[in-house]
């Protein structure tokens, strides 16, 4: 492992101060930053551990049509939470499908969202639910938060503190696993709201990261059914391509996942 200096601040202020003082990366569950360092894709001189900052462990609450999840909540916590399972079961199912049990014990929603891995699950849920990301400085709407591959609107040193999700009438998540890494090769989160609006977000497939399927949203608003999606398709030119799936395949797979997120609304379904 590349040399680094470990810090364990107890407050957000202390964490931000260390970050501002030198080349740093935050570490939450560590399952993104540590593999990145091992593969020489990152080499922060300082690693700032966020797991002992009380302001981040605000827990899970549901109130007034909003579900609030603290940034430090692990995937296992979110998956097992009776509140999340009741309010947005597809979100609980999504969290329960991330990685494996060991990964879920350490990985956090804050870390996943801040990193915006193009094959991560959470960004699609935030985008589809129209979530709000709260940081130590401000709040950002999901539509403004995810800006590209591994890129977000966070400023240097900014820390995600919690995320709030409007509770939809129903939501579904469908994911097709990459055969090797088991991340999303294409996955879709589709949410339907009381005012009739529909939001659909795709992860794992787009070559600019997580994105909203605007044309499909409009069709689903007219009729929330898989039939409504007939004739609609994603462009291969907008998709990622690698040894596991060509752009053409991903374009097709992403559409199938949107269909299945609609078909199985109310739950998360994982395919492989």
């Amino acid at each position: 492992m590349r040399p680094t200096t470990y810090h364990r601040p107890l407050t957000l202020k202390a964490a931000a101060a260390i970050h501002a003082a030198g080349d740093s990366a935050y570490i939450s569950g560590g399952h993104t930053i540590l593999p990145a360092i091992k593969q020489r894709l990152a080499a922060p001189e300082n690693l700032i551990d966020l797991r002992h900052i009380s302001e981040l462990t605000t827990g899970i609450h549901a109130e007034g049509g909003l579900l609030s999840i603290g940034a430090a909540m692990s995937h296992a916590h979110v998956a097992a939470s009776a509140i999340v399972r009741s309010a947005i079961p597809a979100l609980a199912g999504l969290a329960g499908s991330i990685g494996d049990p060991m990964v879920r014990h350490l990985g956090t929603i804050g870390g996943s969202v801040a990193n915006n891995d193009p094959a991560a699950d959470y960004p699609s849920a935030l985008l589809a639910l129209g979530a709000t990301v709260f940081t130590d400085r401000r709040s950002l709407k999901a539509d403004d938060f995810f800006t590209g591959l591994y890129a977000s609107a966070l400023d240097a040193g900014e820390i995600v503190t919690r995320i709030t999700f409007p509770v939809p009438v129903s939501a579904g998540y469908a994911k097709f696993r990459n055969p090797a890494s088991r991340y999303a090769m294409a996955a879709a989160f589709v949410a339907r709201f009381a005012d009739g609006s529909v939001r659909a977000a795709v992860t794992g497939a787009g070559n600019r990261g997580v994105f909203r399927a605007a044309a499909m949203e409009a069709a689903l608003r007219q009729s929330f059914s898989t039939d409504a999606l007939r004739g609609l398709a994603f462009e291969a030119g907008d998709m990622m391509s690698d040894i596991h799936g060509s752009a053409e395949y991903r374009a097709h797979l992403a559409k199938v996942m949107v269909q299945r997120a609609v078909q199985f609304t109310g739950e998360a379904r994982i395919f492989k």
């Binding site: 055969p179 090797a180 890494s181 088991r182 040894i243 799936g245 060509s246 395949y249 395919f271």
Partner: protein
């Protein structure tokens, strides 16, 4: 016969009902069979048996177990042949300071070559033991028999367990000169001829034409590995071989960048190892036809799964795609979701939509 057993064990007759149920769920079910024969055992091998003054014996093995349970299997053999208690048997392998010579483990060779070489060594121990037993029991020209770990002077009730005879080879004095001091034996055996493990495996898959996803729903194995020395170990070898064979057929592959030669599947992030949820429960049986060309009747077991599984799997895939106009001869391994989907889409676009 292996084929008949496999068909029965896999509920071949019940397939149509399962296929119809799959179809109602929008999935295509197919089944495949692999009747295979392979060559087991190669080169020659050397095994030693060394007793110590306490009557314990050490197996010094030229083969090298990396999980195949040699310590157990060879000890079973020694206990059966020589009557040494299982707990009094030690096992050494792999240390070039302690093992004078060996060829290792691969090519399904250890049970036959290691076992037969061990038998050779055990037979030498018995011969030496007979001579010592005859001396100790004052046979004076009468024959000495050996059975169930005990030496007996023929037609008498004068007996001595082999373990005690072995200890006698370490006495401080009074050992006939021609016996030497100590009891050990070196045995060898050559794969001349080799053996021919064979069998019949069957596989059922369910394909989702919309995604190309393949689920292996059912796997049945009937294997003739000759005499089965340890059924649990042999079953374990089949399980592991089948999982590896299915992995090769469905998901594993070394992928290189054509221009740079860079390995693209260089970690498990990109090399698709099968997980527990990718492999079905394997229902298996043994069909024991003792090998006639080695003293133990043994055939190899280590490779059978890897040989049969890819064939059974790809045949099942071809069967599942039958009727869609897919050229099954053009299917490649690994049969990844994209590969299967693309084959369906090319032949029958609306089926893959």
């Amino acid at each position: 016969m292996a084929l008949d057993k496999c068909l029965a064990l896999s509920d071949w007759a019940g397939f149509e009902a399962r296929r119809a149920a799959s179809e109602r769920a929008g999935l295509r079910r197919g089944r495949g069979i692999a009747c295979f024969i392979e060559q087991g055992g190669i080169f020659n091998e050397r095994m030693e048996l060394r007793f110590d003054p306490s009557g314990m014996v050490t197996i010094v093995a030229g083969t090298h177990s990396h999980g195949q349970g040699h310590a157990t299997t060879y000890s079973q053999m020694v206990t059966e042949w020589l009557g040494v208690p299982f707990e009094a048997i030690r096992f050494i392998q792999g240390d070039t300071e302690k093992v004078p010579f060996g060829r290792g483990t691969y090519a399904a060779r250890s049970s036959m070559l290691g076992g037969a070489a061990l038998k050779n060594a055990a037979d030498i121990v018995i011969e030496k033991g007979k001579a010592m037993a005859g001396f100790l029991l004052e046979a004076k020209g009468a024959g000495v028999e050996f059975a169930e770990g005990i030496f007996r002077v023929a037609n008498t009730n004068r007996t001595m367990p082999l373990v005690d005879v072995a200890k006698a080879f370490y006495r401080k004095g009074g050992i006939p000169k021609e016996f030497g001091l100590g009891l050990e034996a070196t045995g060898s055996y050559a794969a001349d001829p080799p053996n021919f493990p064979n069998g019949c495996h069957s596989c059922e898959v369910e394909i989702d034409p919309q995604t190309g996803s393949i689920v292996v729903d059912r796997y049945t194995s009937v294997d003739d590995c000759g005499r089965v020395v340890n059924p649990m170990i042999c079953r374990g070898q089949i399980h592991g071989g089948v999982a590896q064979g299915l992995g090769q057929a469905q998901r594993e592959g070394m992928v290189y960048d054509r221009e740079s030669g860079q390995l693209l599947s260089g970690s498990f992030m990109d090399y698709a190892m099968p997980r527990a949820s990718d492999i079905p429960e394997i229902h298996g049986e043994f069909h024991e036809v003792p090998c006639k060309t080695n003293p133990l009747g043994i055939k190899g077991i280590g490779e059978a799964g890897t040989i049969a599984a890819p064939v059974a799997f790809m045949n099942a895939v071809a069967d599942a795609l039958d009727g869609l106009g897919v050229d099954s001869d053009a299917l490649q391994m690994p049969a990844t979701p994209e590969h299967i989907w693309a084959a369906i889409a090319a032949a029958r676009p609306h089926a893959a939509a």
